[in-house]
């Protein structure tokens, strides 16, 4: 019952123009963003792409810096669905939480063992902010 009430209230507010409909994030924008994040993995640029509220941010950057072979890089094997999870207007910006499913592979040369590969699939949650320039 509370769900029905919430849905009806949301529909009424939307209809009355009190709140605005969600503008789905352009899937191309979301895919390009995740490609850049994964390209920066295990490089000094990754810090630029990790949100300040990414849990374990500093520890991850340190682990990558000290424990992962410098030559290790991620290669994207497949990019799946893009979904806008949440959206809010902040002044002249539209801030969206977007989920992108990616299958990727880490590749690196291990001395004496040759090329190493490890695969992983995950849902990457990005905060995409789109601002109207002033």
């Amino acid at each position: 019952m509370p769900r029905r009430i919430a849905a009806l209230a949301a529909a009424a507010l939307l209809w009355a123009g009190v709140v605005q409909a969600q503008v789905p994030v352009d899937p191309t924008v979301a895919r390009q963003a995740v490609e850049r994040v994964l390209a920066a993995w295990n490089t000094p640029e990754l810090g630029h792409w990790l949100a300040t509220d990414f849990v374990g941010r500093d520890q991850l950057l340190a682990t990558l810096n000290f424990d992962v072979p410098p030559s290790a890089r991620l290669r994207i094997l497949a990019i799946g669905g893009v979904q806008t999870l949440q959206q809010e207007r902040r002044g002249n910006a539209l801030v969206s939480l977007v989920s992108v499913t990616v299958r990727a592979q880490a590749e690196w040369e291990q001395p004496g063992q040759g090329l190493q590969r490890r695969e992983g699939t995950a849902e990457y949650i990005l905060r995409i902010s789109r601002e109207a320039p002033r």
């Binding site: 019952m1 029905r4 009430i5 009806l8 529909a11 009424a12 507010l13 209809w15 009355a16 123009g17 503008v23 994030v25 352009d26 924008v29 963003a33 850049r36 994040v37 994964l38 993995w41 792409w49 990790l50 949100a51 300040t52 509220d53 990414f54 374990g56 520890q59 991850l60 682990t63 990558l64 424990d67 992962v68 072979p69 290790a72 991620l74 207007r89 002249n92 910006a93 539209l94 939480l97 990727a104 880490a106 190493q116 490890r118 695969e119 992983g120 699939t121 995950a122 849902e123 990457y124 949650i125 990005l126 905060r127 995409i128 902010s129 789109r130 601002e131 109207a132 320039p133 002033r134």
Partner: protein
């Protein structure tokens, strides 16, 4: 309690009709936009919208400046892919295999080390 819920739902359902009956639609009460702004909004041309928004923000004396910038910014943000974009990774939900963003083992169980 059930009767109260039903009444509440009915009340919510008629809200949009009430707003219509009262002619309370915000689009009807907005002041007329300057012609170039109205044209740019109608054309949904991203570059033109951004250029006009910058111009109206810089010209503090422009007539209808507030309404124009509000309409321009709404139009820019209504166009997916239009505007200045910034992205950051907030979290990763592993589905299968290695989680490359695991803060302790970004290469899984592999023996790591530089």
């Amino acid at each position: 309690m059930k009767a109260f819920s039903k009444r509440f739902i009915r009340l919510l359902a008629i809200l949009p009709l009430a707003a219509l009956a009262a002619d309370n639609n915000p689009t009807n009460t907005q002041p007329a936009l300057p012609e170039p702004v109205a044209a740019a909004v109608a054309a949904a041309d991203c570059e033109q919208l951004i250029a006009l928004n910058k111009r109206y923000h810089q010209d503090a004396a422009a007539a209808g400046r507030l309404a124009a910038t509000a309409a321009l910014e709404d139009a820019i943000l209504a166009l997916p892919g239009c505007g200045q974009i910034d992205a950051a990774l907030v979290r990763v939900e592993p589905i299968r295999g290695v989680d490359f963003f695991d803060r302790e083992r970004p290469l899984g169980d592999t023996a790591q080390g530089r």
